[in-house]
Symmetry: C2
Subunit: 213 residues, 2 copies
């Protein structure tokens, strides 16, 4: 929730839907800790400490440590899905919508890298029920991107041999940004978003010459 995240395209009012205030502070602390050290290497004492509370306070708002991860993961996936839906359902050609989808999705992963890391890489730490729920959200994410690519391919705007495989690769490329992106590195989230949108248009064989912007 620090300034870096907000400046870099993150939500200006992140986790606003989490109430009361103490529960939100704990959740934000958990996001930071999970992103830094991973779920299993994070202790409940660490989370409570970051939120300025005693270890016991965590259990007033959350039943277990896993429930914290579950809540983070669900809210994060819903946010990711919303970003892609907005891009997929706006006006414009498949090329424009794919550009919008990739650049905004990448901006979210780069700018909110802390959150995105937890959302994308701690899925296996959830129990079976929670994981199944999150996997359903991921299928919706996949469907949004696949929809754009299918439409572009059907209209002749794109040139794609394997729609499912290409969709997988596009999402994979975007998601992996959360692994390598460095806030102190040479690229801003906006730059990476623009670069990746161009690369993805090339991958789908979009007709417009994105090669020479």
């Amino acid at each position: 929730m620090s300034t870096a995240e907000e400046m870099a395209g993150g939500d200006p009012q992140p986790w606003a839907e989490v109430t009361p205030d103490a529960a939100r502070r704990l959740l934000v602390a958990a996001v930071e800790a999970f992103a830094e050290r991973g779920y299993h290497a994070t202790t409940t004492r660490d989370i409570a400490g970051r939120a300025g509370m005693s270890p016991a306070a965590l259990y007033i708002h959350y039943k277990t440590k896993e429930e914290l991860l579950h809540r983070i993961s669900r809210i994060g996936h819903e946010k990711a899905l919303e970003i892609l839906r907005t891009a997929a359902r706006r006006e414009g050609s498949a090329t424009e919508r794919l550009t919008d989808a990739v650049s905004s999705f990448v901006r979210w992963h780069a700018g909110g890298r802390t959150t995105a890391r937890v959302v994308q890489y701690e899925l296996d730490s959830l129990g079976p029920d929670a994981r199944a729920e999150i996997l359903a959200l991921r299928r919706l994410v996949d469907a949004e991107v696949r929809g754009i690519i299918e439409e572009g391919a059907a209209s002749g705007e794109f040139d794609v041999l394997d729609v499912r495989g290409t969709t997988l690769a596009v999402l994979s490329l975007c998601i992996d940004v959360a692994r390598w992106f460095n806030v102190d590195g040479p690229r801003t989230p906006e730059e990476v978003g623009a670069l990746y949108a161009d690369l993805v248009l090339r991958m789908v064989g979009a007709k417009s010459g994105a090669a020479q912007k």
Copy 2:
């Protein structure tokens, strides 16, 4: 070291450089356990149990649990680097060498997903010294791929705006295969390798019409 990994393009004699036999069995058990549950969620008792030994046996061959991860990571990165070097330094055009590099690199990540997962995703679990050593290997990996792309761009074979950014994206795409690839899924490592080689050629704007194979 199971059949699936060997059939799918993995090393037929994996971890042969690790001796004595008991040390290799422990290391193979650790790879499996780390890949399944992650480093921090894996106990030394679990590793020893998989290798058919008592927990104490681990400490005869390795000083700590982290030394196991360090050894796995270094051997894995050396193997990955060797794969890319072989492709980068063979005869042929930049297009041919990039195709070779991507398809073999992807085959390794898909076929040896167990190993690749540990190698690519447990880097943060290492201590500062070990992590620095591994990061040096990763820079060599990056340099091999960047070299091919630079040569293709210089000769006019490729059309690339941002060589460093494109290199990053290509490697990112390949590495993320270890996250999503499923041995029981619909695609073989060879199919993913071929698909990804085609997508990467599109990303670098290779002149040859890979779009219509």
